[in-house]
């Protein structure tokens, strides 16, 4: 390995680059002073102020409503679509079409939906964001469920049919339980993507409501305060816990699957 010693420089540079901004953000959230940049001493006061900020609380509630709504919609539609694409068609065009929202630039989908909502004169609000988020989430759910489906054993379904179960019973009692880990993984992915999504929500939410990313965005435009740092620190903690928990869950799932 001696010869590739110089490779360690970009390797560590990558990790320093990825983590220094996060560490600075968290340290600054405990700042007792008013500045978001200069550290004056330890304090938790910005966390207290955060808890009392109604705009942030409303934004958080809206974000959760949108995430739950779009995830539910995307999970049902995406799962059905995955089953249909794997079992009921060989069309490459349909395949590509179903995956398209996942690769399309978010800005293009955002303006498309804005134009479309304008055309049908839909009043913008949380539900227009739910419908919008489900478009790309569905593609991700379908992609995750598909991988599970192509690896699944069809003999169980055949056995169920041979024993006289109808297609509906077979789907509910055999196919769905087999796909469950894939569906859960897809739903989690859809949920996380929706929580974090900014561009499409920004274009399709209208003027009356705001999701949390939009609240943060407009707070920053009015000037940075340690309150945003405190919010950032909490969000970082939540997503880090979620990713590590997700990692653990898939590991357990994998080891069970191979047993």
């Amino acid at each position: 390995m001696g010869r590739s010693k110089w490779l360690h420089v970009p390797f560590w540079a990558t990790y320093v680059f990825l983590y220094v901004p996060i560490i600075v953000l968290v340290v600054m959230s405990f700042n007792s002073g008013k500045s978001a940049y200069t550290y004056e001493g330890f304090s938790l006061k910005w966390y207290g102020e955060l808890a009392q900020d109604e705009r942030i609380r409303d934004g958080l509630v809206n974000t959760l409503i949108v995430a739950v709504g779009s995830t539910a919609l995307a999970t049902v539609l995406g799962t059905l679509l995955a089953v249909g694409l794997v079992r009921h068609t060989r069309s490459k065009t349909l395949d590509a079409f179903a995956l398209m929202p996942a690769v399309l630039p978010d800005l293009v989908l955002a303006i498309g939906l804005l134009v479309f909502y304008g055309m049908i004169q839909l009043t913008l609000g949380l539900y227009s964001v739910i419908l919008a988020h489900a478009v790309f989430s569905m593609a991700f759910v379908a992609a995750v469920v598909r991988t599970r489906l192509t690896n699944a054993d069809t003999s169980l379904e055949e056995a169920s049919r041979d024993l006289g179960a109808g297609p509906v019973v077979t789907f509910m009692k055999v196919t769905l339980p087999q796909l469950a880990p894939g569906i859960i993984a897809g739903a989690l992915l859809a949920f996380t993507l929706s929580l974090d999504e900014f561009v499409i929500a920004f274009f399709t939410i209208g003027n009356t409501e705001q999701t949390l990313p939009i609240v943060i965005y407009s707070m920053i435009r009015f000037g940075v305060t340690p309150k945003i740092n405190a919010l950032a620190a909490i969000l970082l903690l939540v997503s880090f816990t979620a990713v590590i928990a997700g990692q653990r869950i898939t590991k357990i799932g994998e080891s069970r699957a191979t047993d």
Partner: protein, 279 residues
């Protein structure tokens, strides 16, 4: 019910809800945007349905071509730096013992799963006038410099946001390499660098192309990062589109800009799949 009719019914039950949804909320909106490129803006926003080529000739205005050029430059620079940082990182991760491999990979992805706006905000804190970097420079007797609100800050923000998308496909490509190939090359007397140039690099070209695409695509169409770190001027195509749709209310020209954006990306996709097939 005959089996073929049953199959067709199954196809209908499973495929129609999702596909209908995508036709209404993806295909129709995209076709609308595409058709808007041919129309004129109304005097108070809105669209006048009279066919015109004006939007396309306006696109060729040096002002707008310049913005497209700047977007290409900044996204290209970001992609290049991401590759130079990401390749060695992915290469070393692939050499790590199994347990550390997972840790190193999760550590690369972790920032990517945190809120996008927050990640960009972190750079405002670092680069701002009285921010940490300037304080550090001051301690060395330098500065203060205006580090924020320029093109360098945009590249930094784009790199920070999308670097993980470079490392992951590169890692997948390097991991798949058979270590015996490298051993054989070394046994035949090739130096480490020659082995890299003649064996490792050519065999990981598809991974390189995928990583570059993953970084370039979201960088090129970005409007949030240039707005937050570039000072809100119309620097990249994304900013222009955003302005045309939400401020200037010129939807036809905004649509034309969006079409130009997608066209550039489609050309790149075709080039990528062509290069991957040859490589």
């Amino acid at each position: 019910m005959s089996p073929s009719r049953g199959r067709r019914l199954g196809a209908f039950v499973f495929l129609s809800p999702g596909l209908t949804y995508l036709v209404v909320l993806l295909l129709v909106p995209l076709v609308l945007v595409l058709s808007y490129t041919l129309f004129q803006r109304g005097r108070f926003g809105g669209v006048v349905y009279e066919v015109t080529g004006e939007n396309f000739s306006r696109l060729l205005d040096p002002l707008y071509l310049g913005v497209v050029g700047t977007s290409l430059k900044l996204a290209g620079l970001t992609t290049l730096i991401a590759l130079l940082l990401g390749y060695p990182t992915a290469y070393l991760i692939a050499q790590l013992p199994r347990k550390w491999k997972t840790v190193a990979l999760v550590a690369v992805v972790l920032p990517f799963w945190t809120n996008f706006i927050i990640r960009v905000y972190a750079w405002i804190i670092l680069l701002n006038g009285p921010g940490l970097l300037n304080s550090g420079l001051k301690a060395l007797g330098l500065g203060p410099y205006e580090l924020l609100y320029n093109q360098g800050a945009i590249v930094l923000g784009l790199l920070y946001s999308y670097l993980p998308l470079m490392v992951l496909p590169l890692y997948a490509a390097i991991e798949r390499l058979d270590p015996q190939l490298r051993e054989a090359s070394a046994n035949l007397g090739a130096s480490g660098f020659t082995t890299f140039r003649k064996v490792t690099l050519p065999m990981t070209v598809p991974g390189v192309l995928t990583g570059c695409l993953f970084v370039f695509v979201p960088s090129f169409g970005n409007f949030v990062i240039p707005e937050m770190l570039g000072g809100g001027k119309s620097i990249m195509v994304g900013n222009l589109i955003r302005t045309e749709f939400l401020r200037a209310r010129d939807w036809p020209f905004g649509s034309t800009l969006a079409l130009a954006l997608v066209a550039v990306l489609v050309v790149l996709l075709i080039a990528q799949s062509w290069a991957a097939r040859r490589g």
